[in-house]
C-alpha cells in the first residue's frame, strides 16, 4: 500500500461511520485522524498538519458548520469536505446554524458515500493547483 503522505482529519459523531471512512482512506495510503466529537477535534487540532478535513454536519453541541468556522480561523488555508446524511442541508442550515453561510458550501457529499465517490472527491481536492476551498 503506497503512502501518499497526505493527512486527513475526519470528525463524525457516528463512531462506525468515522471508522469506515478512516479504513477506506487508509487503504489508499492516507494518514487519518478520526474524532467522534467536535470538542476533542478542536482540542487535538494541529494547524498546518492536515491536507483536508472531512466534517459531519449534524453533531451534538458543536455542529459541523461551527466546527469548520473555528478550525478555519486557526488554519485559514484548510480544505474542507462536508459530509451529511441529512436530506436537506438547507433546512438544517437555517434552523441550526447561524455561523455558516450556505453559499460558501462548495464541497458537500451526501452519506452514504461509496469508496469510489469518496476517493474521487478526496483526490480532486488534493490537486495542489486548485485552491478552491470555501
Amino acid at each position: 500500500m503506497a503512502q501518499v503522505n497526505k493527512r486527513i482529519l475526519i470528525v463524525d459523531d457516528e463512531k462506525d461511520v468515522g471508522r469506515t471512512l478512516k479504513l477506506i482512506l487508509e487503504n489508499y495510503g492516507f494518514d487519518i485522524d478520526c474524532f467522534t466529537d467536535s470538542a476533542t477535534a478542536l482540542e487535538k487540532f494541529n494547524p498546518n498538519l492536515y491536507d483536508l478535513i472531512i466534517l459531519d454536519i449534524r453533531m451534538a453541541e458543536i455542529n459541523g458548520f461551527e466546527l469548520y468556522d473555528q478550525l478555519k480561523s486557526r488554519d485559514p488555508k484548510i480544505k474542507t469536505l462536508f459530509i451529511t446524511a441529512l436530506n436537506s442541508v438547507e433546512s438544517y442550515n437555517t434552523r441550526n446554524s447561524k455561523v455558516y453561510p450556505l453559499k460558501g458550501l462548495r464541497h458537500f457529499m451526501k452519506k452514504p458515500l461509496s469508496s469510489e465517490d469518496l476517493l474521487g472527491q478526496v483526490y480532486s481536492m488534493m490537486v495542489p493547483e486548485e485552491i478552491e476551498d470555501g
Binding site: 462506525d16 471508522r19 451534538a60 446524511a85 452519506k111 461509496s114
Partner: protein, 509 residues
Amino acid sequence: MNPILALLHRAKSRVILKITLLVIVEIGLICGSFFILTYYQSQGSSIGKSINAAGKNRYLTSNSLFQTEKFLDGSSNILTLENGINNLEANIGALKYGGAISGANIKSVPPDFSGYLNNVIRDFSAYKALIQDKIIDRSQGSQVGTPETVLVLRQDLEATASNLVRSSDILVTALGSYADNNSQNLIMLQIFLAILNIGILVLILYLVTRILRPISVLTQATREIKKGNLSYHVEHKSDDELGELTDSFNSMINSIRAYIEEQRRLSDELKTANQEIQQRERMKDEFINVAAHEMRTPVQPILGLSELLKSKKRGNEVAVTDGEEDELLDMIISNAKRLLLLEENILDVSRLENKLLKLNKEECDLVKIISIAIQDAKNQIDKNMVELAAYKPTELNTLLVYADRSKLIQVVSNLLNNAIKVTKAGSIWIYLEKDDNKAIVSVKDTGPGIDPSVEAKLFLKFVTHSSSGTGLGLFISKSIVEAHGGKIWAFNNTSGKGATFAFTLPLLE
C-alpha cells in the same frame, strides 16, 4: 287597515297617549278661556242694554209729564196720556223681567241692583197712581178740577216725576260703575288667561321634550357605536315604547358585542389551529429530514465496510487484518439491526397513531427484562469512559408484571440508549424499586441534562435535541408505558448533573 282600528292601535301607543293627553289639556284650556271671556263679555253687553233702558226712563218720564201737561191744557187726549204711561211701564217691566224694548233684547237687571230698581218701581207706582187717580179716573167726561186744584196737581206731578227721574238716574249710575268694574276685571282676566295659556304651553313643550328625549339619547348612542364604542350603554328611563326601544337597543348592542367577541374568539382559535398545523408541518418536514439521516447513517458502514471486505476477498491489498474482519462484520450486522430498529419504530408510531399497536401481554419479570436491556446496552458503551450499573433491593429477586415482554425491553433499551447517547463519559445507573402495588424503573445519567427548549415536549413525537435520533423513542416509550397502565416522566437531577427518566408499571397481583 281600517282607519278607526289604526287610530285605536295608535292610541295604545303610550307616547302618543301622553302627547294626546297634553294636547287635550291645552285644547280644554283654550276653550275654557274662550267661554269665560265670552261669558264676561256677554255680561258686560247686557249691563249696557240695561243702562240704556234705565236711561230711557228719564226720557219716557219727561214725555209722559209733557203729555199729561198737554192733556191738562186740553190740547191732548187721554189715549196719548195713557200711551205715555204705558211706554214708561213697559220700559221698567223690561228692566225687572227682561224682554224686547225698541228692538233690543234686554235681560233683567242683576239681583244686586234690585234695591235701586225697586226705588224706581216705587216712584213710578206713585207717579202712575197720581195720574190714574187724579186725572184718568176723574176725567170721564168732565173737567179734572178747578184751576187751583189743577195747579196743585201739576206741582205734585212734577215732584213725583222728578223722584222717578232721580231714582232712575241712581240706577243708571250704579249700573254704569258696575259696568266699569266689569270691563276692568275683563282686562285682568284676559291678561291672566293669556299668561296661564303661555305657561301651560311651555309646560307641555317641556313634557313633550322629556317624552322624546330618549330619541336624542339613542341618536347619540348610535354615533358612539358607529365610532366602535361597543361598550356604550343607554340608561332606561321611561316605561313607554321609547323605554322598550332603549331596552331593545341595549340588547341589540349586547348581541352585536357578543357576536363580535365570538368572531374574535373563533378567529383566534383558527389562528392557533393554523399555527399548530404549521408547527406540525414543520415537525413533519424535520422528521422526514431526520428519518432520512437516521436511515442513511447506518448504511454508510454497511456499504463502506462491505466494499472493503469484498475488495479484500478478491485478493486486493487491504489494510484490514484477518482479526479485524470479524469486528467489521459485527459492525455491519449491528448497523443493519439499527436500520431495522428504526423501521420498527416508524411502524410503531404509525400503529400508535392508528391505534393498531397490539400488546401480547403475559406474566413477565422486570428483573430479567432489565438485565436483558443492560446486556444489549453494554455492547454500545466504551467501558473505559462510561460506567453502567443496576441497583435493586437485595430481597427483590423477581418483580412480576403483566405486560408485553418485548415492548418493555424496547422501553428500557430506549431509555438506556438515550442515556448512553448523551453520556460520553460518566455514569448510567438503572434502579428498580417496588412501591405498594407498582414497580418504578428509573434510568439516571450524568450527561448534560434535559435542554430547557425541549423539556416541555420531551415525550411528543419528532422532538429531539441530539445529533442522532428521530425523536420517536420517547414518544413510543410513553405510549407503551401508558398502554400498560403506567406513567413515564423525566427530570434533571437536583444533585450533580444529568437527567433521570423514570416509569411505573402496575404489579401483577
